[in-house]
């Protein structure tokens, strides 16, 4: 089976969020970039399990600049067979979706894995856009999947529970927690990753239809009101009269 795993770079979750250039750009000084956890822990691992079960090859594809090579190597160390980096630092999820689609269109594939969203921008826009550009069925926020021949049975998260659907391959899915268990790259994986190739390809032309005008940090400075632990009547009064939430 030819398995594609689209992986993204993300700002690590404890980074201080700050902006420069009058709030127009994210200030990434001192910030660590990581392989997006949804891609690394759930999407890639489920793809590897599938390959281990039915045979085939796992190719990771990433849209990014040279700085991304380190995280792509991590994906190879975890077990991907090869990698393709589309050489462009993306300006938007929409751009990523278009660049991925242009690359994938020319490839043989049976299934495409993605992560439900990146932990920094949280747009979640790449997986569904990619599926539409490739005209493939899309199942989002998948927490469980079984593949039997050309048929996949997937559990997607919905409000208050899950919905189980069945679809023929090829398809695009986005992974969430529980789809697989995180794998830590071991020494052997890390050594072997050095011998695997990262093919760098030139990006196609994408005309963006949106841009980030401005970032804002929340203005409301929370000032806390402490209520004595013995005096819950007072808390109730405040919630009713002041906060007006009960």
């Amino acid at each position: 089976m030819n398995i594609i795993v689209c992986v993204a770079r993300a700002i690590e979750t404890t980074a201080k969020i700050k902006f420069k250039n009058d709030g127009r750009e994210f200030d990434d000084e001192g910030v660590q970039y990581i392989l997006n956890p949804y891609d690394e822990w759930y999407s890639l691992v489920r793809a590897l399990e599938l390959k281990e079960a039915v045979g085939g090859e796992v190719t990771v594809i990433h849209v990014g600049g040279q700085d991304s090579d380190q995280i792509i190597r991590k994906a190879l160390a975890i077990g991907a067979d090869k990698a393709i980096r589309i050489d462009k630092v993306p300006q938007s999820g929409e751009e990523v979706a278009h660049l991925l689609a242009a690359q994938i269109k020319g490839m043989d594939y049976d299934i495409i894995f993605t992560g439900k969203e990146t932990v920094d921008y949280n747009s979640g826009i790449v997986p569904p856009m990619l599926s539409a550009l490739l005209e493939l069925p899309f199942i989002g926020v998948v927490s469980h999947m079984d593949v039997n021949g050309r048929q996949a049975t997937l559990s997607r998260q919905i409000e208050g529970g899950i919905e189980v659907v069945q679809s023929e391959l090829p398809l695009v899915l986005s992974a969430t927690k529980d789809l697989a268990q995180q794998r830590i790259p071991n020494m052997k994986g890390i050594m072997m990753a050095k011998r695997k190739s990262i093919e760098v390809v030139a990006p196609g032309e994408v005309v963006p239809s949106s841009s980030i005008e401005q970032f804002h940090l929340p203005q409301k400075e929370k000032s806390i009101t402490y209520v004595d632990a013995e005096n819950m009547d007072e808390l109730v009064r405040l919630l009713h009269e002041e906060a007006k939430v009960i």
């Binding site: 979750t13 979706a97 856009m129 899309f138 409000e159 009101t225 402490y226 209520v227």
Partner: protein, 318 residues
Amino acid sequence: MSVIVFCEYNEGGFKKNALEALTYGRKIAGVQNSRLVIVVNDPNFDQEVIKRYGGNYVITYEGVPTGDSSATASLLSDIVIQEEGRIIVLAYNSTGKSVTGQVAAKIQGGVATSVSGMPHSLDPLIVPTTVFAGKATADIKITAERAVLGLQNNVLAPEESPVDQCELKAYAGEVSLSLQVLKQETVSEDIPLPEAERVVSGGRGLKGPENWHLIEDLARELSAATACSRPVADSDWRPHHEHVGQTGITIRPDLYIAAGISGAIQHLGGVNNSKTIVVINKDPEAPFFKAADYGVVGDLFEVLPRLTEAIKKWKAGR
């Protein structure tokens, strides 16, 4: 030129977020003086509700489950073209998260997700969105002729704007389904967490699942949903869908009461857009107090039952 709003309907009726999307779209249509087109996935929807919230033109379809996001997006895109839709609004719930991006791709429109407020301007279209797990807002400018917006819940309250008549039209296009929905497994909850206006949440401070009645009793008195922090879900004390946080679900209730949760950044990311946050923790240095509106430094094993009693007393006295 029209504003298209997808209002998801199921046997329970319209969810609050569908009416929020309707209100959002109606307001834009009002400013632009463009036509408001509602799309509903069931011809037997509750017309009174749609009329009450200002929908006077509804296109319905049937036989396409919302779980088939590709088919849903195809027919929505078809309707957008037919009705000359310029701005398309969907609630950014589980359906919206799968459909929004697909519609944008199919109509070659711009897209903004986790929209967190009314547009700053319509020409050019600039909308605020929530990014960095709720720690910041990004204003997205969409330059394409059409724009698809995925609206977060609780951004605005559904607003009544009654109309007398509602014109109905049945979608006449062809749709091929891309998958089969086998079943749904929902935990029967009185109050689903993503839509709850009040939430009571517990962390490791509860010490074990056997103590959760403290959370549940308070939630019951407040007609609130229950939630938990990640370690609690990971330890299987509580079901995974109750986990709120950066890698769990993001909620925006009016009231979020957190007991025995220290307030790690990843948890805050899921709840810091709540209107009012109450933190109960015996550690006065718990980081969560920095994000709280009201704080109680005390032992939750005493404070929670005391608060539950106080609520009961207050309700009885009204």
